[in-house]
Subunit: 426 residues, 2 copies
């Protein structure tokens, strides 16, 4: 086989993947994570060690005793009906009413992102994301070749003036954005939560410029402090496509998420689901249903919140201890991540090799931007490493950063932002 | 929200879905299947009742005792490494050498089809399928807007002269087919197995016209009679993308399949996997791995083969008994399906409502063609219904067909083929 016939179609279809990192770098990092001598602050893993295997075994025994043949069989593409009801209960816990017929089950929320990309994005279409944003969402979007407009955030979420500017410029050119993608709670990677006022303003702006809102809410129930803020979907069902997942409150390994959407969208999502994998696992859907219907899942979430709150506190304290003078960072009220901003002249991607030499890993910020940005930033995860490991990890990291800063100073590079290299070099 | 903003993108993206039925009709039929008074020969379900729940429970206990946290966690996108080794053992059982690093695990073979569609098909591209072909494959393909050239089959598989004609016509126009899609063993829906000679000839033709071959082999191990024929992949690794699944030999509900492909393709499949759902269930992959590594899976396959052989025999005998004078059908050497051809003037889609009135269901043939064809055909499934149910189902079906034939004769319609209505009516 001549290789050109294999490579041709990709060069066409992936031509718009201009970012230097995205998935391949994340993948390499995750491989590093597996080395036991390296402290990884790079992952995005929930702490599944907190789960009691006996609970899962009890549920599986029930499924097999009562419903074995069906659990081994194909199931409906929209999901196992009893589980769909359980998922609406989870949404109610966040003050978001939803009927089972308003959602479909997906193989993780990631699959919902892929479907939204597939059904909405034609090459050249415009979409809006936060800057930075979840790398898995950016990957799905980019694989369908949109133009992504990444809107900066302040401590209340997406900066509305920037959003309006972008939408207005599009309107002046006779174009519009297909949707606005946001992770309003404890955002991945920035750890920022969109304020209540900002949520109302965002929905008004979406209304004014006629675009849908995609609300990705994997972490909403993992709040350590502060009052809950209403979900966007609870404020405007007609305009919001809502993505949920069991990955952070039950098990990522079961691969169960869902999408709630207006019915015309839901019908197309269902077609996408049938093409994509026919149905989500009948086996894991039944286990998950029993878990949420009959076990103390809220108690388990509370336990996770306690664990993660302590770890966040340790991470923030260690940053205070070791990096207060050089860096700034976000203060997440929940979720899994802290976003650290280094001095402008430090290039986090280029520093990664040194960090790994020093036995600590992180995700460079540039991976969370569709094209460019975040070069002097990094995402740190606090959900997975034990507290004392977090402390030691930041200590190691601080040495690497301080060495890098000293090097930059000795070379007189402090004036040059990491992201601002001359165009000729790219 | 103005509905046009929801509907606009779909009308663009799904404009090429010209077939009248495909997934929505299949879906309606599957709903009918659930009504207990109806004998459904429409499904494509394996007989999961043949599985011992105790075996699954034993495996799950092991997974939870030894590896609970990892089984609840995200896993590598290319699949759980020990399972990948087990999958190569399954391929070896069909004489197809494969290394673990030559495959990725997917959420059923359907997901492999979706990925192949996504990475290869740009709108307007040409691809080749058998006529008829698997409706789930056609759905995935069509959602990326190719032009599908459906090549008729004889009892040895795709008719090579027709294939060559098509490829030659494309070549004359400066075009080519991206790939040839085939289910060589006990094809869904036709029940036909591609002969050894035809396989060699197909690969030669693919070589001559520079296109890849996508070999979908869900049923290969379910052979009731005759000698195994080599897989296409075992004859030419460099040109064949091979799709396997555990759905027919273990459990469809676990959603585990795989794709083995040349490495440049595999790398793009892995990117597609990451965008699509990050990874296949860590939990079900571990269960499946233990099943194939430690249980008597070959014994279980033999048991399924016994069950399905008997059911195929009953289905063929009942067709002989009730429909010998009116219809013809294929004689599958394995798999799940028989393809029945009715008199040319009978429209199987239009007859379906009468059949359901008579408490029997089937899939009309037209669903297995991308645009047109098979109007006087139907697919019958024999893997799921018990033997006496199969017999009764065909008996009911024969009455419906005979009534339809009598009606057509009384209206003088015998001369008009079902698929040949005037263009003005379409």
């Amino acid at each position: 086989m001549s290789p050109k016939y294999v490579l041709d179609p990709f060069s066409e279809k992936y031509a718009h993947r201009t970012s230097s990192m995205l998935s391949s770098e994340i993948r390499d990092l995750l491989e590093i994570t597996a080395r036991p001598d390296i402290i990884s602050l790079a992952g995005g893993l929930p702490y599944t060690q907190a789960f009691d295997p006996q609970v899962i075994l009890r549920l599986v025994s029930r499924v097999l005793a009562e419903d074995c043949a069906a659990s081994l069989q194909y199931g409906p593409s929209d999901g196992f009906a009893p589980l769909k009801r359980s998922l609406t209960e989870i949404m109610r816990e966040e003050g978001t009413p939803c009927l089972p017929e308003d959602l479909i089950v997906t193989s993780g929320a990631q699959q919902g992102l892929e479907f939204i990309s597939k059904i909405f994005i034609n090459p050249g279409d415009h979409i809006i994301t936060e800057a930075p944003s979840y790398v898995g969402a950016l990957n799905s979007f980019l694989s369908y070749q949109p133009q992504i407009h990444a809107i900066p955030m302040d401590e209340e979420g997406m900066v509305l003036a920037e959003l309006r500017n972008t939408l207005q410029r599009l309107e002046e050119r006779g174009e519009r954005a297909k949707f606005i993608y946001t992770i309003p709670n404890f955002q991945n990677p920035a750890g920022i939560t969109m304020s209540r006022d900002r949520r109302y303003a965002l929905l008004e702006t979406a209304e004014e410029f006629d675009c849908l809102v995609v609300e990705d809410n994997p972490y909403g129930l993992l709040r350590f402090e502060g009052d809950p803020v209403p979900t966007l979907r609870s404020l405007d069902e007609s305009k919001v496509i809502y993505l949920g997942t069991l990955s952070k409150i039950f098990s990522a390994g079961m691969r169960i998420g869902w999408v709630a959407a207006p019915h015309p969208v839901l019908e197309k999502l269902l077609l996408a689901k049938q093409s994509a994998d026919l149905c989500t696992s009948s086996f894991t859907q039944r286990i998950a249903h029993l878990y949420f219907a009959e076990e103390d899942w809220k108690g388990q979430v509370s336990q996770l919140v306690e664990i993660y709150r302590e770890r966040r506190n340790v991470l923030l304290a260690s940053l205070d201890e070791f990096l207060a003078e050089l860096c700034s960072w976000t203060h997440p009220q929940g979720g899994l991540f802290v976003w650290v901003t280094l001095p402008a002249y430090i290039h986090a991607s280029e520093m990664l090799a040194s960090a790994i030499d020093a036995k600590v890993a992180y995700v460079p910020g540039s991976g969370f931007f569709p094209y460019r940005g975040g070069e002097n930033c990094m995402r740190l995860n606090f959900s997975y490493p034990e507290p004392e490991v977090l402390w030691e990890g930041v200590k190691r990291l601080s040495k690497v950063i301080k060495r890098e800063v000293a090097l930059a100073k000795s070379l007189g590079l402090q004036g040059k932002p990491a992201g601002g290299r001359p165009h000729g070099q790219e």
